[in-house]
Symmetry: C2
Subunit: 113 residues, 2 copies
């Protein structure tokens, strides 16, 4: 992977992580994961914020590709985008693997100092 590709990848993953970076949005995601059918204003009630604020959080999640909305007038049915968080999950795993393959942080030359 070239440097530029890596940068783009980083930007996308950072955007995904950023979308998860708010308690209300995590709450929304949990709610969507567990609620099978179309829910509407239920989300508003569940998170305890104004409707416009919740709508904004939903937009952020949608822009990040974490959720999808399908129109079902007069509602919009939101649901998790399957696999959208996979890259982030993979990164976490990757960091752990790389780390454990490398020596500990402490420089060997200093480890005895």
């Amino acid at each position: 992977m070239t440097e530029v590709q890596q940068d783009l990848e980083d930007m996308r993953m950072a955007a995904t992580a950023k979308a998860l970076g708010h308690p209300a949005r995590l709450r929304i995601l949990r709610l969507l994961a567990r609620t099978p059918g179309c829910i509407g204003g239920d989300i508003v009630e569940a998170v305890g914020l104004a409707q416009s604020t919740v709508s904004e959080h939903l937009r952020i999640l949608k822009d990040a590709g974490v959720i999808e909305g399908q129109i079902d007038p007069p509602r919009v049915c939101y649901s998790l985008s399957p696999g959208a968080l996979q890259p982030l999950s993979a990164l976490i795993e990757e960091l752990d693997i790389i780390r454990s393959e490398s020596a500990c942080c402490v420089n060997p030359a200093r480890a005895q100092g």
Copy 2:
């Protein structure tokens, strides 16, 4: 788990996700994972930002508990905090599991509509 505990948990996880929500910080994490010894200004060079900016990113990562810094004068040796990202990883997995256990988003009553 009580509602309040869940909220606290959400706040912590959101804070972790937020810390990952910037390309420069992902870059730093990858660098730290792969670099065995103590690196210092190398990080500054690698991310291509001002030293003060990088220091700020490091502080954010440290505050979120994602990395640790151990003093090795006149440097500070940063390294990944093992397991710090595990809760986030677990959440992602949890969302996927819950989702796949539930019916699809579409309300059955409307699926044929």
